[in-house]
């Protein structure tokens, strides 16, 4: 019997390359004659370029050429181009210079004279909502494809309420209501009203978004730092308006993205366009400083929340208003935040209002758990506060409000494929020893106070209908072609396991083919929203099922008997006519041709899969299929996080002591990697809530925090010394493998467990803003205002 592959720890096949320095990330590729590009970044948050004088730069030895905004694709409206003469944030790339080395290119950038016309700017979305306030664009602050630009403002009355510290009742472009919130609030035993400020913050993956490109005739060779692979190739081709089949797209390794490099990056267009112009390979190395600006950021929220509770602790009504700080090019976090609030607290009566405001700050994008992480980290302490006021154990508050399998949420009553949030909470309670920890809550050790808290966090965790493609070659090995990117989650290997197991393969006989479009990749999801594990275990399962059918048919055609009487295991197929190696079967499949060798393809596969499959046709027995397993409802995973902290009342410093994260993400495929996702996501959430601070100067509209040390992700000494994880490990019943994704939900769980524990250490006071840096905590302790004028950027 072949080994069992699902639920076991197997080091990913690329680990050896990663730890010997052989793994090539985008900036590690070289090409003969390669030159270097540098960017000139806007020094102002909003401006117009009146004139560029590059004569001194172009006259310098070693300088090759300049690339201007007029030479790159652009579209009307709030849409980003890779270079612009109309920058909308400090740090937006204006132009690029290529030179024989990076230093010369940088020197040339400094020799360029630009005449900028400064324009009004906005860093705080509330400023733009105020009557008479500035707008992020010359023509307004809202854009629709039909009507173009307009200026959306709240009223003086709205701001009179806000300025007095109250909850406004404003008009909002986005609004939905379910149930009867007003009637429900009237029935509530307790109504809590809070003002919440959640900062925006940059992603800062370890690998900046460097890229290198060169052309061979009409063919573009692109070496790109991106989370996804197959879809990023099409995104690049689409941006450049070239035939995707003329792009050789290499993305073997990606040094993290966390939502900032989903289908490639905007700056990946620059070396592609520049190398075409000068007919030489161009390396664009992005520095950390540049990454802070062009590297995307999580949108900040300015939120007003009203939450009603019945006497038994059940949340019966929510009224939520979100103003989102969306940067110059928009983001969608607020919509998810509304859905997640309804799903997590199941109020039955909810009103949701939101407005997404353009601002002149670096562009926003999904950041791990987009929308969900912000709202969960801010609402969980309020749920716990209600427990305190109602005299109900805080654990019970989470448990009794968590959804069961028949939950319906959001404006259109969405359903779930499966939900085991309560089981995750129960398992976490045991592992954390909640009851014993509860006795430690509030204990003092000198100036340090112990606090404990819980965060329950859901997020989308799957999609359906992608293609799987694999080839058994005459060498007998199984080549699983993965169009998904290699962003560090191990999913390039782990999503192939169910296929290998179905075909009875030992793992050492499986080759993962990834990261280079010339090797053939099927249509895949983007690596975002925790879709990959579900989408591609399904797609690969479907393709393996197709391969199994073909193996049996080839065996029966060769050895006699019926296909169904043949069994496949450990590289051999055995039945009434005898036994054959799968290598021999592959040879027979090539000889038989047709569907067996991929000469004839299924009709329902995606058009983007077809050229890749045609490239591989005739090389072995091909398993290829679209995921037609279907399903009803949304696929969501959950993490229940439990944290213990010590808060020093004299310094405002919070130290994490213990953390337990328990997930409901269906079948566990790779336990060790799953644990790493639970911890990694949770710690990123703690960084979001506590250590990373992104602050802007309101006068000049420029960020103060533009490097790692000023917006510091958690380091080794910030993490809890005692970490535990668990999984309920109940398969999703609608899925052939039963696995759901895990990337997103731990972020909200880690952040919320921390914000709840901090509130607990403060005697039950919700701070209701991030980041919980020492100055903010001391201000809270001393009773000084911490929300300022409600702008998330000014600390």
């Amino acid at each position: 019997m072949a080994e069992k592959l699902i639920g076991t720890d197997i080091a990913p096949p690329d680990l050896h390359a990663k730890i010997t320095g052989r793994a090539k990330y985008a900036e590690d590729f070289r090409a003969p004659g390669m030159v270097f590009a540098k960017l000139l970044l806007s020094p102002m948050p909003h401006a117009r370029v009146r004139n560029v004088d590059a004569s001194r730069a172009l006259a310098m030895d070693g300088v090759i050429d300049i690339l201007r905004a007029s030479e790159v694709p652009s579209r009307e409206g709030p849409r980003e181009a890779c270079l612009t003469d109309n920058p909308r944030y400090e740090g937006e790339p204006i132009l690029a210079v290529a030179a024989v080395d990076e230093e010369t290119a940088a020197a040339a950038i400094e020799a360029i004279e630009i005449d900028f016309e400064p324009l009004p700017f906005v860093v705080d979305p509330l400023d733009s909502l105020r009557p008479g306030g500035p707008n992020a664009y010359v023509d307004g602050n809202q854009f629709s494809g039909q009507d173009g630009w307009s200026a959306f403002k709240w009223t003086d009355a709205d701001f009179a309420t806000i300025d007095a510290g109250g909850m406004p009742d404003p008009a909002c472009p986005v609004e939905w209501t379910k149930g009867d919130p007003e009637a429900a609030f009237a029935e509530s035993a307790l109504v809590l009203e809070e003002t919440i400020v959640h900062q925006s913050l940059t992603h800062h993956p370890m690998e900046p978004r460097s890229n290198m490109c060169y052309w061979e005739g009409e063919t573009l060779n692109a070496f790109v730092s991106t989370q996804s692979s197959q879809q990023s190739k099409f995104a690049l081709a689409g941006a450049l308006q070239i035939d995707p089949e003329n792009v050789n797209f290499v993305s073997e390794y990606c040094g993290g993205g966390f939502g900032s490099k989903i289908a490639g990056t905007t700056v990946m267009q620059i070396p592609a366009l520049f190398s075409r112009k000068i007919n030489r390979p161009v390396m664009l190395r992005i520095t950390r400083y540049e990454e802070n600006y062009v590297g995307r950021a999580r949108p900040g929220f300015q939120t007003w929340l009203k939450m009603g509770f019945l006497e038994n602790g059940k949340c019966n009504a929510i009224d939520l208003i979100i103003v989102q700080e969306s940067g110059p090019y928009g983001a969608g976090d607020f919509n998810t935040a509304g859905m997640v609030a309804d799903l997590t607290y199941t109020p039955q009566n909810m009103r949701f209002r939101a407005v997404s405001m353009y601002t002149n700050t670096p562009p926003k994008a999904a950041q791990r758990g987009p929308g969900g992480a912000q709202i969960i980290s801010m609402m969980e302490p309020i749920l716990e506060k209600a427990g305190r006021e109602l005299g109900i154990d805080r654990f019970e508050m989470h448990r009794l409000n968590a959804p069961g399998p028949d939950v319906e949420f959001g404006p259109r009553n969405a359903t779930l494929t499966s939900v085991h949030a309560i089981e995750a909470l129960d398992q976490g309670r045991e592992m954390f020893d909640w009851d014993a920890k509860l006795a430690m809550s509030g204990q003092r050790n000198g100036s340090k106070v112990t606090g404990i808290g819980i965060g329950l966090s859901p997020y989308t965790a799957g999609s359906r209908g992608r293609d799987g493609m694999m080839v058994i070659r005459p060498d007998g090995r199984l080549y699983v072609h993965q169009g998904i990117g290699n962003l560090g989650t191990h999913s390039i290997a782990d999503t192939a396991r169910p296929a290998a197991e179905l075909l009875g393969y030992d793992w050492e006989d499986v080759e993962i083919v990834w990261g280079n479009s010339t090797r053939g990749h099927p249509r895949s999801t983007v690596q975002a929203g925790s879709q990959t594990t579900t989408a591609h275990t399904r797609a690969n399962h479907a393709a393996a099922t197709d391969a199994l059918r073909k193996i049996r048919a080839v065996a029966a055609a060769t050895m006699g008997g019926s296909p169904s009487s043949y069994r496949v295991d450990s590289g051999r197929v055995t039945g009434p006519g005898g036994t054959m190696s799968l290598g021999r079967i592959a040879e027979r499949a090539i000889a038989m041709g047709g569907e067996y060798s991929g000469e004839v393809l299924p009709e329902d596969i995606h058009a983007q899969t077809v050229p890749a499959a045609q490239m591989l046709a005739g090389e072995g027995l091909m398993g290829i299929a679209r995921d037609n397993y279907g399903g009803e409802g949304n696929i969501y995973s959950w993490v229940a996080g439990f944290a213990m902290v010590e808060l020093d009342e004299e310094t405002g410093v919070v130290e994490l002591k213990e953390y337990v994260g328990v997930t409901d993400c269906g079948t566990v495929i790779h336990p060790r990697s799953l644990g790493a996702q639970v911890f990694g996501g949770s710690i990123q959430g703690m960084g979001m809530a506590m250590t990373q601070r992104w602050v802007f100067d309101p006068q000049w509209g420029v960020p103060f925090a533009n490097r790692l040390y000023t917006a510091r992700p958690p380091g080794f000494l910030d993490i809890p010394s005692d970490l535990k994880w668990g999984a309920v490990n109940i398969p999703d019943p609608q899925d052939p493998v039963g696995a759901k994704g895990i990337g997103e939900p731990p972020v909200g769980a880690g952040a919320a467990a921390l914000t709840c524990a901090v509130a607990d250490a403060l005697g039950g006071r919700c701070v209701c803003r991030t980041p919980l840096t020492p100055d903010i905590i001391l201000a809270e302790i001393e009773g000084r205002p911490i929300h300022g004028r409600l702008d998330q950027h000014v600390g």
Binding site: A11, G255, T287, R288, Y289
Partner: protein, 210 residues
């Protein structure tokens, strides 16, 4: 004269201060205007048109390598762009993340914050030099990482592995707490710290059993 000067440099601690002094001494002009208003500084340092390269010999991974080096060139750039050793990563260019950590005479240093001229006459070891040159056998640290399935995106891995290599020499029997401190100069944005720590402890265990 050169010899005397370089030795006096070598005797000093490789501090950030020394690094900056080194940059200034080699003739680079600090261009604060460019930093503030152009926002495109190279390595956070100056750009130099007039500096000339000089051929020097470096001992890297046990081999003497001849290479043309600018006076203010950082070791990380020399390794990556002139010696083809791209295993050393640039994560921040400025001593904030540790992705470029290499060993100089067995001591971990940030390659982005060392001038290449500072390491003349010293033994430089990079991630590419950890395997046994003849057999390809992995070092104990690399073996430990393979066993424990360490790292996610692994962009930080070369730097961490070099720091672990130093750690097991300095403290062959660390507690988890000591290992955590020994590795705290390196950042992992995936926050795979727990598993990295497990790798470090396993590496120390393997080293003790050799």
């Amino acid at each position: 004269m050169d010899q005397v000067e370089s030795e006096s440099v070598l005797e000093q601690k490789y501090s950030r201060r020394t690094f900056i002094k080194g940059v200034i001494a080699t003739g680079a002009t600090a261009s604060s205007a460019g930093y503030l208003f152009r926002g495109s500084p190279l390595l956070g340092a100056a750009t130099v048109q007039t500096a000339t390269e000089r051929l020097i010999t470096l001992n890297v991974n046990g081999q003497d390598r001849r290479v043309d080096v600018l006076p203010h060139e950082t070791l990380a750039m020399t390794l990556r762009y002139k010696l083809g050793l791209t295993g050393t990563k640039l994560g921040c260019d400025r001593a904030e993340c540790g992705a470029c950590t290499v060993l100089i005479d067995g001591v971990s240093q940030y390659g982005c914050s060392m001038l290449t001229h500072q390491v003349r006459g010293r033994a430089v070891k990079t991630i590419e030099g950890l395997e046994d040159a003849d057999t390809g056998e992995l070092s104990v640290v690399q073996q430990a990482v393979m066993e424990e399935g360490g790292f996610q995106c692994a962009f930080c891995a070369p730097g961490f592995i070099m720091a672990m290599t130093e750690m097991i020499e300095v403290n062959p029997n660390p507690t988890r707490e000591e290992a955590r401190h020994a590795l705290s100069g390196n950042l992992c944005r995936c926050a795979d710290y727990d598993k990295i720590l497990t790798c470090a402890m396993r590496a120390a265990e393997l080293a003790r059993s050799v």
